[in-house]
Amino acid sequence: MTYQSRAKTSTAIMLSARKSGAPLGWLALPFTTGWRHRELIRVIVQREFAQRFRGSALGWFWAIISPIVMLGAYTIVFTGPFKVSAAAEAGVGHYALFIFAALIPFNLFTELFARAPNLMRENAWFLKKTIFPSDTLGWIALCRALIYAGISFAILLAFELALTGKIPATALLAPLVIVPYCLFLLGVVWFFAALGSLTQDVAHVVTSIMPLIIFGSPVFYSVADVPPAIREFAYLNPLAIYIEMTRNLVLAGVVPDFALYGQAWLVALVAFWVGHAVFMRYRSILVDVV
């Protein structure tokens, strides 16, 4: 391992990336640093789970039970005593599935978004005392959240199978949406982690706008329900793209529109690179301010 440290670290890192790889090395940079530290990411994710379930007799059971409770609650609320008209149209349990399929990607976002501004501060003892590659914190947060989302996803599929007797074959295509979504999320995490370390106000802003995001995203409704006059703007919210596509693949068996899928990748890659660049730009001063 050889490294150089200069007053402007970001340029030093950029330079070494350009030297070492292809001419477009900087495009691959966020991936290569993640890959280089894969062992570290793995060890720390394992640690987080070991820690979470330590001292609880049932361990993983708790990770499974909470999405089941949530899905159960939605089913009861929307099909039981409360006769919500949208739910009645969709049929018993279907509206619960409809919401739950959207809530999985949505919760993935909110969990990471809420955590991002404090990410550096939470790990300050690590960053200040060891040679810790701080950008891996983003990967670690993502992996952690993905594991819980994966559990919920499995429960969703099981529930769908039980209720409707089949899962559309297009559900197999879900990873094609999840991959760009993860890149988008990582970009968001890096961006807000950097901003949040500089001032704690960011964390408060994030918590205040969180309740608004759920209504601006097609969780309780679908984009098709949006009045035609403003439907075009629905996809200005990047979450809408990923939520709609995931739900359509998993429940309706509808393959996403090609243009929309292209937009998903475009948004993802822009968020990913911008997030990483901002994080790396401020990385060297973040250690001193958290």
Partner: protein, 256 residues
């Protein structure tokens, strides 16, 4: 660039920004390019030195002189405000109290994470774990959460991990003095062997330790290098200077 150069610090300086009001930090973010809203506190200024493979360098200086900041810069934990640092080879930092341990986790788990952070593979660390535990010699505590550890146990584990990562440079921050005599002896024996192949950067207030372990001593005074040379030359000067100076707060002035 010579291949056996381990550290090259070329005119490095480090300042921290001191804000009088919290709002100033925000103003600095927004209007920083037009005006300065903070006071600089210069921890280090114009530090230049080099270390070759197998060379051990001691750093002395009074509290607040900038020794720990210098070590942090060498380790790559923080970056200098100006100047350049080059470090070649794997660094194992035994920094004062903690070395990035999660106190909720057991010593074993922290050893694995610590080893991976320093660039070892998980499998390698697990293979070496018995040897780490033997070096740390903290018995059953290795499988207890580290919040139950004493200061000495912390340091024992930190040193044991760093001794097992095939480092080329060990950076040690005053931590040896925390251990008891038996452990200090063990560490000294290790370091004497380590010096045959690797380099050591050691901050210490113990004159005997510096004499024993270091080829060269750098005396840092208020962020600048005051003397650099053989331990037998620099240490006596440092000691007489410390006796003459008053122990007051004048060393910690923040300039406008």
């Amino acid at each position: 660039m010579s291949s056996d150069l381990v550290i090259r610090a070329a005119g490095i300086g480090k300042s921290y920004q001191f804000y009088t009001h919290y709002a100033d930090r925000f103003k600095q973010m927004v209007f920083g390019r037009f005006r300065k809203f903070y006071k600089d506190y210069w921890v280090l200024r114009d530090i230049s030195f080099e270390a070759r493979r197998g060379e051990s360098i001691g750093i002395i200086g009074r509290n607040g002189a900038g020794k720990s900041t210098l070590l942090q810069i060498i380790c790559g934990i923080t970056t200098p405000t100006y100047g350049e640092v080059e470090v070649h080879g794997r660094v194992a930092p035994v920094l004062s109290l903690g070395t990035g341990f999660d106190t909720e986790l057991t010593g074993r788990e922290n050893a694995i994470i610590g080893g991976v952070v320093l660039g070892l593979r998980r499998a390698d660390i697990i293979k070496r774990f018995d040897s780490i535990a033997e070096f740390a010699a903290i018995g059953q505590f290795i499988d207890q959460p580290m919040k139950l550890y004493s200061t000495g146990m912390f340091m024992r584990l930190a040193f044991a991990i760093c001794a097992h990562v095939d480092a080329e440079l060990m950076v040690i921050d005053e931590s040896l003095s925390v251990g008891d005599t038996a452990f200090q002896d063990k560490c000294r024996t290790f370091l004497r062997n380590f010096r045959k192949t690797g380099s050591i950067l050691l901050v210490s207030h113990s004159v005997a330790e510096l004499h024993n372990l270091c080829d060269r001593v750098v005396w840092i005074d208020r962020g600048r290098i005051r003397e650099m040379g053989k331990p037998s030359e620099v240490i006596p000067k440092y000691q007489s200077a410390v006796h003459e100076e008053h122990d007051d707060a004048s060393r910690f002035l923040i300039e406008a």
